[in-house]
C-alpha cells in the first residue's frame, strides 16, 4: 500500500493536471496571505501601539475568530456573494479571487492576533530602549514593528498553512470547477482530495495529501532555517 501510494504520488507529480491544481493552491492561498498581511498589519499595529476605547474588545474578537469553522465562514460568504446576494455584483463566486478573499477573511485573525502578541511581547523593553536613546514616538513605533519581525514571519506561515489546508471555503466559494485546459478552474488540492475520496479513489487522495503536507512542511522548514541562519529566531 505504502509503495503503491509512493509510486502513485511520483506519477501524479509529473501529471500536468495535478501540477496545475498544486500551483493554483499555492497561488490562491498566497494571494489570500498577501491580502491578509496588507489588511492585518495596520490593524495589528494600531491594536498594539495605540490606546483607545474598545481596544481589548476588538483584540478579544480577533482571538475568538481564530477558531472559526471554515464551513461556517464559507456558508456566510456564499450567501453574501451568490448572484442574488448582497455582494453578488462583485462576481466572486466560483473564481480563484473569491476563494482568496474568503481565505483572507479566515486567516486575518491569525495575522492580527500573532502580530499584536509579538509586538506586545517586546513592547516595554524596546519602547524604553528607543525612548532612552532619544527616539520620537513615531521612531519608537517603527522600532517595535521591526523587532516584531519574527512574529510577522510566524503569522505569515501559520496563515498560509491554514489557508492552503482549508476545505470549506474552497469548496463553497470555488465549487471545485475543473476543465482540462480551462481558464476558470477553481479546483485546489483540498477540494480535489475531497472529490477523490467521494469517488473512492483513496490512493489519489493520499497522494494529493502528501503533496499538500510537503508544501506546508517545506515552507515551515525554509522559514525556520532562514530565521536560524540570521538569528531572527532569538527575540
Amino acid at each position: 500500500m505504502i509503495l503503491e501510494t509512493a509510486t502513485r504520488t511520483l506519477e501524479l507529480l509529473t501529471n500536468p493536471a495535478v501540477l496545475d491544481i498544486t500551483l493554483r493552491s499555492i497561488r490562491v492561498s498566497g494571494v489570500a496571505t498577501i491580502l491578509a498581511l496588507v489588511v492585518g498589519l495596520p490593524i495589528a499595529a494600531a491594536l498594539a501601539l495605540l490606546n483607545f476605547k474598545g481596544k481589548e474588545i476588538i483584540k478579544s474578537i480577533f482571538n475568538a475568530l481564530l477558531g472559526i469553522p471554515t464551513v461556517v465562514l464559507g456558508l456566510v460568504l456564499y450567501i453574501l456573494i451568490a448572484p442574488n446576494g448582497v455582494l453578488g455584483y462583485l462576481g466572486l463566486l466560483y473564481t480563484e479571487l473569491g476563494i482568496s478573499v474568503g481565505q483572507m477573511l479566515l486567516i486575518l485573525p491569525i495575522i492580527v492576533s500573532f502580530v499584536v502578541n509579538s509586538i506586545e511581547r517586546v513592547e516595554r523593553e524596546i519602547r524604553d530602549l528607543a525612548y532612552t536613546l532619544g527616539a520620537t514616538e513615531f521612531q519608537t513605533s517603527l522600532a517595535l514593528l521591526r523587532e516584531a519581525y519574527s512574529g510577522v514571519v510566524l503569522a505569515t506561515i501559520a496563515a498560509f498553512n491554514r489557508a492552503i489546508a482549508e476545505l470549506g471555503i474552497a469548496l463553497m466559494i470555488g465549487g471545485n470547477v475543473f476543465v482540462s485546459g480551462g481558464r476558470y478552474n477553481t479546483r485546489v488540492l483540498t477540494t480535489a482530495m475531497q472529490m477523490y475520496v467521494a469517488r473512492g479513489e483513496i490512493e489519489v487522495a493520499i497522494a494529493l495529501g502528501i503533496i499538500l503536507i510537503a508544501i506546508v512542511f517545506s515552507i515551515s522548514l525554509l522559514s525556520n532555517s532562514l530565521q536560524r541562519c540570521y538569528g531572527l529566531d532569538k527575540t
Binding site: E125, L129, T132, A135, A143, L232
Partner: protein, 234 residues
C-alpha cells in the same frame, strides 16, 4: 549648581510604594552610586531619572529647570537586562545617532565600541552575542550618543569577572571627560571602587548620602550600617 535635583519624589505601583519622599542632588561630573538590596527602589529611581516613569508627586529639575521628555537622549539608561535590537552590533550602536539625524557617524560608533572592548564586532549579529557582550553593546550604544548623564543599572551583573575592571575604569574615564554617571548596584565593593558619592536606598527611602567613607566605611545611619555589615536581610 547641581545638575539634577529631585525634590520629595513619591512613586507607587498599585499598593507597593517604590519610592518614599526621595530628595537627591546629583552633581556634574561625578559617579553617584545607588546601593540597596533587591526591591529597594534603585531601578525605579533610575527609571524616573531617565524620564521613563513619572513620579506620583515631587519635582525633578535638570540644570534648574523642570525636566521633561525632551531630555531623553541627554539622559540615557542602560538597563540591567541587556536589550539589543535585531541586527548587527553596528546597527545597535548607531541607533541613537540615527534617530537624531546623524547619518555618517561611523567613527563615533567605532570609538564607542572600542571603549567597551568590542572592536571588530561591528558586523556581528547582536542577538547571537553572549549576555556579557550584549551588555557591552548596550553600554557602547549609550556612549555613542554622548549623553550628559549616563544611568547604569547593575552594569556588570552580566559581565564576566575578567571584564569588570575595564568597565569600572571606563566609568571613571567618562567622568574625567565630564560625563555624570549614576550607577545602581548591590555590589558594595564595586561601589567603593568607583564612587565619588554613595546613596543608600532601603524600601524606597534614602537613609544615607555622602562620600564612600561616610556611607560605606563609617556609616552613621543605623540602617545603612546594618546593610553594609550584611545584617540587613534581603
Amino acid at each position: 549648581m547641581d545638575l539634577i535635583k529631585l525634590e520629595r519624589i513619591w512613586k507607587s505601583f498599585g499598593s507597593i510604594c517604590a519610592l518614599r519622599n526621595v530628595s537627591l542632588n546629583i552633581k556634574e561630573s561625578e559617579v553617584l552610586t545607588i546601593i540597596g538590596s533587591n526591591g529597594s527602589g534603585k531601578t525605579t529611581l533610575l527609571r524616573i531619572l531617565a524620564l521613563l516613569e513619572k513620579p506620583d508627586s515631587g519635582k525633578y529639575y535638570f540644570r534648574g529647570k523642570l525636566a521633561d521628555e525632551s531630555l531623553r537622549g541627554k539622559i540615557t539608561l542602560v538597563p540591567q537586562k541587556p536589550v539589543v535590537f535585531r541586527g548587527t552590533v553596528f546597527y545597535n550602536t548607531m541607533y541613537g545617532l540615527k534617530v537624531r539625524g546623524f547619518k555618517n557617524a561611523k567613527e563615533k560608533v567605532r570609538g564607542a565600541l572600542k571603549k567597551v572592548g568590542l572592536e571588530g564586532y561591528e558586523k556581528r549579529n547582536a542577538k547571537l552575542l553572549s549576555g556579557g557582550e550584549q551588555q557591552r553593546v548596550a553600554i557602547a550604544r549609550a556612549l555613542a550618543i554622548e549623553p550628559e548623564v549616563l544611568l547604569l543599572d547593575e552594569p556588570t551583573s552580566n559581565i564576566d569577572p575578567n571584564s569588570i575592571p575595564a568597565i569600572e575604569k571606563l566609568i571613571r574615564e567618562l567622568v574625567d571627560d565630564g560625563m555624570t554617571v549614576v550607577v545602581a548596584t548591590h555590589n558594595l565593593f564595586q561601589a567603593k571602587r568607583i564612587s565619588d558619592r554613595v546613596v543608600h536606598l532601603h524600601e524606597g527611602k534614602i537613609y544615607s548620602v555622602g562620600s564612600v567613607r561616610n556611607v560605606l566605611e563609617e556609616p552613621k545611619n543605623e540602617v545603612t550600617r546594618k546593610f553594609v555589615l550584611g545584617e540587613l536581610y534581603y
